[in-house]
């Protein structure tokens, strides 16, 4: 079930209101109800939602919204501001100890992604901060957990300290720090076993590890898909260990991630990093403002842009621009383009990142059908080299052959050829416009 974004829901509420000259208190109540539902659907804890809604109501009933000409947009603005404030600023710094090694301890429930995050964090420390971390395998309970960390260590070419499953995690942590000192590892990352926050025995063990290892950072690793229970988990871990920060994992999924807000609200500890994929370099700094948009279902334009940037080769992009300008864009370039778009992930995902995209119905049905893309690809691949470069030479028999080769019809081939010509023209116009006013951003529907 795809949840509509808050923006859409508010818009439909407002549609009911428009026509009336003034926004009444009742209208505000209805709007805040929509906000409340949106936040709950995003898994923000209901207590946190309650507090937020009260603040939003206060501001909304006040002059700020009622007297505005665009109350809907004002409400969204107020909500977003409140959310962003609650979420705090960016804090992706990692402590550095005066007396190395700096010790980081990873804690959390089972399956949150501690071991993977340990690997990612080590990679981050080496790549971005030029450090040489030692990974410590303190999960002696889950079968093959040590093996998992060792494999990650191999992949990263980093040392992993382990003593099997018979030694207590407290001793392992202590010995590991000694070894780090001897071998001049400036960071020690301790991977602990996943445990329930209500498991007293295992929570005690964490406290013992803490008192032996004296970590400079304790990161609570939380699955971003966590529901209402996130507050209980975060609260207990924070009460018992005084965590220093949070890492939110699996944010590359389609969860709205309201847990982030809940955790921040109950612990007041910064969310430092976000796990964005299964690969070891997919750990990113956490961006509170983007998260606020995501929770509200308002799209994530910045992430989209970044995604495009990482996937599109800059050199290729330059060449492409040149081709677009001179109108020498061929079907081969078109294929390449399609490949790059595909690399960015499923089209629906990309569309979901654009605010208001679900509004443009035409877009969704006409151009974003991935099956159609496959057809287009097949048609182009059925063309000869020459045909791809000079579509002008196309005649009836060539078209027939292409249709046959790609399993499509001549009319489909014709349509593509026509679209391609139109696209070329449009590209030329676009590149001219871009040259005219550089740096002009996109038009956001809500600003």
């Amino acid at each position: 079930m795809a949840f509509e974004g808050l923006a859409d829901r508010l818009q439909s509420t407002i549609k009911k209101i428009t026509g009336k000259g003034k926004v009444s208190e009742q209208d505000v109540k209805e709007m805040t109800r929509e906000v409340r539902l949106a936040l709950l659907e995003a898994d923000v804890n209901f207590k946190v939602v309650k507090g937020l809604i009260n603040r939003i109501k206060e501001r909304a009933v006040g002059q700020e919204v009622m007297e505005s000409l665009t109350p809907g947009q004002q409400v969204i603005k107020v909500v977003k501001e409140e959310l962003t404030t609650l979420m705090g600023g960016e804090h992706s710094k990692i402590a550095v100890s005066d007396r190395p090694p700096t010790v980081i301890m990873m804690v959390g429930l089972q399956g949150a992604g501690k071991t993977t995050t340990t690997g990612k964090l080590a990679n981050h420390l080496r790549k971005k901060h030029n450090r040489s971390p030692l990974l410590v395998a303190c999960d002696i309970y889950r079968p093959a957990a040590i093996k998992q960390l060792e494999t990650l260590g191999e992949q990263l070419d980093m040392p992993v300290f382990s003593m099997g499953t018979e030694t207590s995690p407290v001793d392992i942590a202590g010995k590991a720090i000694e070894q780090a000192k001897e071998q001049h590892n400036d960071y020690v990352i301790i991977d602990t076993a996943g445990r329930l926050h209500v498991d007293n025995e295992l929570m005690d063990e964490l406290q013992q590890i803490k008192s032996v290892a004296r970590p400079d950072e304790i990161f609570l690793v939380v699955d971003s898909m966590t529901g209402q229970d996130a507050v209980n988990v975060a609260e207990s871990f924070n009460d018992q260990l005084d965590i220093s920060g949070v890492v939110l994992t699996k944010l590359d999924g389609d969860t709205r991630g309201g847990a982030a807000l809940s955790i921040k609200a109950v612990t007041d500890k910064p969310i430092k990093f976000a796990g964005m994929g299964e690969k070891l370099d997919e750990l990113e700094a956490f961006h509170p403002e983007r998260m606020a948009s995501r929770i509200l279902g308002m799209g994530d334009v910045l992430s989209l842009i970044e995604k495009a940037q990482t996937n599109v080769d800059e050199k290729q992009a330059k060449q492409l621009e040149e081709k677009m300008r001179t109108m020498s864009f061929t079907f081969d370039d078109f294929l390449e383009q399609m490949g790059q778009v595909k690399n960015m992930g499923p089209l629906d995902d990309l569309m979901a990142m654009i605010p208001g995209a679900n509004k443009m119905k035409g877009l969704k049905n006409a151009q974003l059908d991935e099956k159609q893309l496959v057809h287009v690809e097949a048609i182009i691949q059925s063309m000869t080299k020459k045909e791809r470069q000079e579509p002008g030479i196309m005649n009836a028999s060539r078209k027939k052959r292409i249709a046959k080769g790609s399993g499509t019809s001549v009319s489909q081939v014709n349509r593509l050829l026509k679209q391609f010509e139109e696209m070329k023209k449009m590209m030329k116009q676009m590149t001219n416009i871009q040259k005219g006013k550089k740096g002009k951003g996109m038009n956001f529907p809500f600003m």
């Binding site: 429930l109 399956g111 079968p143 209500v198 229970d229 996130a230």
Partner: protein, 330 residues
Amino acid sequence: MSFMKKLKNRFKQDEETEEVSSKYKEGMKKTRNSFSGRINDLIARYRKVDEDFFEELEEVLISADVGVMTVMDLIDELTMEVKRQNIKDTKEVKDVISEKLVEIYYGDDDEHVEELNIQENQLSVILVVGVNGVGKTTSIGKLAHQLKRQGKHVVLAAGDTFRAGAIEQLEVWGERANVDVVKQSAGSDPAAVIFDGIKAAKSRNADVLICDTAGRLQNKVNLMNELSKVKRVIEREVPGAPHEVLLVLDATTGQNALNQAKTFSEATNVSGIVLTKLDGTAKGGIVLAIRNELHIPVKYVGLGEQVEDLQEFNAHAFVYGLFADMLEDE
């Protein structure tokens, strides 16, 4: 006789279920305490059934991760029911609340949907799917153990070739349960591993083959396609298979669990759910929404780390566990 009494009597009559329900009671103690505790609080605080009461009730249910839409529907139905029966006292509404919740659990389904579909005298294939970190491999280990104890010849296929240490993890479980594990090296094609698994299971005359798969987020189209391929291989090699496609869900998951259930069903036609980590404070209420909206039954629940803590799902016992305090109050 009130609904609660009926439910209670049901358990009094049946000794076997009593034992089951005591396990649930134990495992879900924390869950239950807070959930029914809050319903009781609610009822004590509000003597009159009014708008405020329903708003608070809505919060109680939402805090249990019951889907927002399911809660809204439930509240609407309750409001109607209260009006119809002209209920003014919150004590009476308690019955109606539980009755409605149980209704959602059962729906129109046959109660036997919760049983695992294991064929006699023929290989049964169970495919296990889910997002990362929900406890697929652990659940497989426990399930293998239990089936083995029932005298079944079980083979495991290490289809998670992606995550570091996943194959080794399944092997450890295989050793513990004393069942064979079919594997290839890390990074190999999961469909090929499953194919090998089927061949091995057939040649060894196994009763049950349980196929592990790598955890994947449901919005990764390519990975979901890979899963469909694995399922196609199973379909092709064993007629009528997979006999079960179990989606493993983490009870701490919120609304996203609905998306998971929906997307995994589209790719693999999920036949049942294993709800894990129910021994924490998470309530797993999303199961209500999933059953209500997608009609997928829960087949097993994970109530702890021990092998026997994987319990066959029993809706009566589950509901009993949730409401035990309330029942005993009466």
